[in-house]
């Protein structure tokens, strides 16, 4: 389980998150909704350890991971996968190398098998040797999903992963995401402001408004 309690973040004198408390149990799906600038991405970054909270704490598996002003457990040790709004693929690495990066703990052969497996699951197996610049937007987002799930994370964070895609591609990728996350029973925290995406992912819905969480029916 990954959880935060009383999280507060501000920037330039403006409060972005205020007293946010959230828990994501193993295997649970949570959809976080809210208007642009509501602080959804900031909350994901604080949970992932990419940002330090000003107030409140983050715990991972019952262990204190972030306290005000300090990250105690680095992002790479929190057991999370992250799909960013833009694919954020490393341009100097091939598709296979992008996915392989997170598998450094596995023996080489096993890691390569896992890369083949996730690329096939995300239907980009034929693109393994291509560079990110040679891929379309949809292909890049599939590779980003493959990279995030490759190390079998306990928690998968997805920050509006379909925003930059057209509606046909969106439907196709949404279908892929729901099938992929069902396989490993990974806990998912999915950020979106689209109703159809929230419906497809399912699970608990939370609404972030004015930096505070409001439970939805």
């Amino acid at each position: 389980m990954i959880a935060c309690a009383g999280i507060g973040v501000s920037a330039g004198g403006r409060s972005i998150l205020s007293d946010v408390t959230l828990a994501l149990a193993d295997g649970q799906r949570v959809v976080l909704m809210g208007p642009s600038g509501a602080g959804k991405t900031t909350l994901l970054r604080v949970l992932a350890g990419l940002m330090v909270p000003e107030r409140g704490t983050v715990t991972v598996g019952g262990r204190l991971a972030s306290v005000p002003g300090k990250v105690l457990v680095p992002p790479s040790q929190r057991g999370i996968g992250f799909v960013f709004q833009s694919a954020a693929l490393w341009p100097h690495m091939t598709v296979a190398q992008n996915v392989l990066y997170g598998l450094a703990d596995l023996p080489k052969r096993e890691a390569q098998d896992r890369v083949r497996q996730v690329l096939a699951a995300c239907r980009v197996q034929g693109l393994a040797e291509r560079l990110p610049q040679q891929l379309s937007g949809g292909e890049q987002q599939r590779v980003a999903l493959a990279r995030a799930i490759a190390p079998r994370p306990r928690h998968l964070f997805m920050d509006e992963p379909l925003t930059s895609l057209d509606s046909d591609l969106k439907g196709e990728l949404l279908d892929l995401i729901t099938r992929v996350i069902a396989v490993d029973a990974t806990a998912v925290l999915y950020v979106t402001h689209e109703e159809d995406e929230a419906r497809a992912v399912g699970g608990t819905r939370l609404h972030l408004s004015g930096g505070r969480l409001v439970p939805q029916a």
Partner: protein
Amino acid sequence: MPSSMRCRRHSLTWQPSSEAELPPVSGRTWRICGVLALAAVLGVPMAALARDAWAAVRMNPETLRLAIPAGRSLMLLLRSCALSAATALLCLAIGTAGALFLLAAPARLRWLRMVIILPVIIPPYLHAVAWMRIGEGLRVLLRGGGLALPPFQGFWAALWVQVMVYAPLMAGVALAAWSMVDPLLVDAGLVHGSPQRVLRRILLPLMWPVLTAGTLLVFVLCMGDLSVPSLFSVNTYALELYARFSASGRTADVTLLAVPVVLLCLAALAPAMRSIATVLSTPSARDGAASSAWRATGVVRAGALCGTAVLAVDVAGLCGSLLAGAQGATWAAVHDALPQALVSLRTAGGACLVSLVLALTAGPLVAAGNRSGRWMAAFLLVPLALPGPLAGTGASLAGTLAGGLWKAAAPALLLAFRFGPFACLMTGARLARLDSAAAEAGRLFERRRGDYVRCIWLPTLGPVLVAALLLVAILGIGEVSGTLLVMQPGQQPLALAIYNYLHYGGSGTVSALCLLLLAGLLALMAPALFLWNKGWRRA
């Protein structure tokens, strides 16, 4: 998002826009103006050098042998290459390490970035003065303790001083390289790996093209500079060019002798050109967003601390020794130097005016990124690859070829010839990054003639343009290698006066004049940095 947009966002090198229709006049007029300006300022000295060399070869084909390094010239070329390559590599290591430390340092220490980068504006021979003094002081100190040190002279002393000269530049380049890395790429790496692994596998590879460009630029600057090697009694190729001109006055010999070093510098500059343009147009002290999550630890932090320590020693040594030395100087010496300071300002001001014309006409052509733009950019590389003494020779010959302006204002035109290309590349890089849709909207909604230029074009381009011209002024005020050959009687600039004093003694006076020069450069640098930063944030 279309993949082409993605490519541009993730690319580290400069991606010229194909739609840089931003100059306020029509494309054809602009192209003609650009070509004429470049021909007059950059083309004439190069043509004069080529014509002179060709005439000498036609008269005596044996002179062509000078272009092939052999014997003494080969030895000098190898020594120059060794000194420049060692300087560039050490600067890469120290500058990058220093930048990594500064980036991982807490926010309250951000001012350190500026302090470490600021010595970039100090001409090489001022560093030499400071380190000669420090070396001598160290010798006296150790002699008192019964330890005899050799004099601070020769190859290793020159190498040390050159590293101190260019390491701040490399630190600035590394900071600029960092600021160009998309922060999300670092975040994505941190989710799956330790900070050290992110540094090794993601950050350094992404910064590498810009770091390589910076290293090659340092190599080229070292190859063309004669001031530090001459002060430390090291014979280099650039010094040989100057000595050959002084001894025989045969300009064709200098041109032919310079061919190997020019080819070498062009070969080094060509692949790095686009990255250099990006580096030059990026404010080096900008807070990279990527630094918010990345923190160096362990070995990286120790190495980075060493890099910063070396840079800090240079800054402290430079200021300390100049202040200590100046105490023995008389105000009369400083007062006497005021006319020379005025000559420096006048020459640099002239160079800025000429560079403004070059930047406004050639910059948009470079930004267009089409075939003629690429030729233009390649043409701009040539003056950067010429060693100072050869550029000076070209400027002295230009008067005989073109007469007129080149005869009347050779020192200012020489500075524009040497440093004007920087202004063109900076302007071009800035224009290539402007949003063409915003520019088109500006034209579309223009209600009165001139509104577009006044309200859109100048405010977006202006700060970078002014910063580029101040850079030309700063480099021009410190230049000696070429000015030595075109200086007119009674018109000695301050930098040359200092350089001459260094050879004849008068250390207290030298220190006082150095401080005068330093104060002038700092006064120019402050608005340059401010405008550079302001211009970039508007991009």
